[in-house]
């Protein structure tokens, strides 16, 4: 198997856009091509993450659309859909394609546009990522899914709403340092704690926003990447799934797919949680960050809330989590999120993250979760 590196990254501003998701991706992809200092025609395949295109944009067959907008009709291309993990799943498959020697240079990314539809419609479309028969019929929303997890975590470990609020405050503080973040405003604990309940015990400020945006990364085989001074190596990319049914999950306070994907990634990379300097993880809700920091092995099960409260996951903490502002403040264009997280870690490992730079970061971890915790992809990236 060949080594694989990221040689270019691009991310649009996150927030409201008047452009289609494929256009947003194409803008990010152009930035990634320029960043990689390659010609567009060097790209041999394109893998594209998108979730709600059919519902929100009346657009399927997005792979060739994305390629066409990029001016690259002719490359093999496929849309990946694994709910919010879509473009990270695309990333993993591109890594395997290059490692296997099928392609030398592959473009991966995603785009999502949702802010032009009413909130109740967006909530409905996102809920399509849970089971249609057992869950959608009950009116279970995504805040509802994570509320069930939050309640279980609170009951089992004594995690508090205030500890969850600390995650939001921290990620907003980080997001204020990110010029491309959707929300660049620091908030206090009271703002979170006094916000209205969306799905008890989760409140408005425990939830990430709806977001339009695009992200892209260029992956290359070792012999191409070696010519790139700023190449960042893919040390591992591992995926796991868990039962699609909330009723079949053995322990609601844990995300077993995170634990399995992380164990696989650490094994593949020959690294441990102690080797990780910076993390971008899937904080679609504050409780999701707490549970992820446990499942990724940074903190013992049940202590993720304490870690958030103590500031151990802040930029200056033991293990900086979501320096970009995370999904919470940077925003969450669901099909683009995985690629955007990879782009942030690459930027951090190159030392180019400006005010939100984690000093000396050499090894980074990316964790992306799909839907009702049924898909997780974890990748480890490193400098030479």
């Amino acid at each position: 198997m060949r080594r694989v590196a990221v040689i270019g990254v691009g991310v649009t501003r996150f927030g409201r856009h008047e452009r289609s998701s494929a256009e947003l991706f194409a803008e990010a992809a152009r930035e990634a091509i320029e960043d990689a200092e390659i010609r567009p025609e060097a790209i041999q395949a394109l893998y594209y993450g998108n979730v709600t295109g059919g519902e929100a944009e009346r657009q399927l067959h997005m792979g060739p659309l994305a390629a066409s907008l990029l001016g690259l009709p002719g490359v093999p291309t496929t849309r990946f859909e694994t709910a919010c993990a879509s473009s990270h799943a695309a990333f993993r498959h591109a890594v395997m394609e290059i490692a296997a020697g099928v392609s030398d240079v592959v473009m991966v990314g995603g785009g999502e546009r949702i802010l032009h539809v009413p909130t109740d419609a967006a909530t409905e479309y996102f809920a399509y990522c849970s089971d249609a028969t057992f869950e959608q019929t009950l009116g279970l929303t995504f805040p509802g899914v994570f509320a069930l997890i939050a309640r279980a975590h609170m009951d089992k470990y004594g995690t508090t709403e205030e500890q969850m609020a600390h995650v939001a405050v921290k990620n907003h503080r980080h997001g204020a340092l990110n010029p491309k973040a959707q929300i660049r405003k620091e908030i206090g604990l009271d703002t979170v704690l006094k916000s209205a309940y969306v799905a008890d015990p989760l409140k408005l400020y425990d939830c990430c926003p709806f977001t339009d945006g695009g992200a892209a990364v260029v992956l290359a085989a070792e012999d191409v990447a070696r010519r790139h001074r700023r190449a960042v190596w893919v040390l591992a990319s591992h995926a796991a799934s868990d039962t699609m049914f909330m009723h079949d999950k053995r322990d609601l306070s844990r995300v077993t797919a995170t634990e399995r994907a992380a164990q696989g990634a650490y094994r593949q990379a020959g690294r441990s949680p102690a080797d990780v300097d910076v993390v971008e993880l899937h904080d679609c809700f504050t409780i999701a960050e707490i549970v992820a920091t446990e499942g990724l092995g940074f903190f013992e099960p049940g202590t993720g809330g304490i870690a958030a409260e103590k500031g151990w996951t802040s930029l200056e903490g033991k293990i900086p989590v979501n320096p970009s502002g995370g999904l919470k403040a940077k925003g969450h264009p669901i099909g683009a999120t995985g690629a955007a997280q990879v782009a942030e870690i690459v930027t951090q490992l190159r030392g180019e993250a400006g005010a939100r730079q984690v000093d000396g970061a050499a090894t980074g971890l990316v964790h992306t979760l799909g839907g009702n915790t049924a898909t997780v992809v974890v990748s480890l990236l490193g400098r030479d």
């Binding site: 009413p118 909130t119 109740d120 419609a121 909530t123 409905e124 809920a127 028969t133 057992f134 869950e135 959608q136 019929t137 009950l138 009116g139 279970l140 929303t141 805040p143 509802g144 509320a147 069930l148 997890i149 309640r151 279980a152 009951d155 209205a196 309940y197 969306v198 799905a199 008890d200 015990p201 989760l202 039962t243 049914f245 909330m246 009723h247 079949d248 609601l252």
Partner: protein, 126 residues
Amino acid sequence: MTDEVITLGHFFAEARAGRLTAIRCRQCRELAIPPKEYCPGCHERDWEPAPLRGTGTIASYTVIRVPPRGQPAGTPYAVAVVRLDEGVSLLGRVVDLPVDAVKTGLLVRFLPLVDGQQTAIGFTPA
């Protein structure tokens, strides 16, 4: 027997008539909610129907205050994971109880929620 009882259609037809019917693996005795082809425990395909009493306790719950489009019932409403007495769990809408009274550990009983062609899982205080 295996072919019919493992289907979603059979599970919800039974539920509509007020009966919760799980499936039990004849090989390893794993109890499961359909639909499943192979047993998640031993990966054999040898199921028998396993009628459930329909009673259990709330393991986790939430009160949905921002609903998706197209929910007929008014908000807020409670959705709970119920650990059934036999050991499997089911997600259901909690009805006949103010949302503020829903609590972890509450004893509940299955109740089909029938709306036209659709059947959903409900639970009412036991």
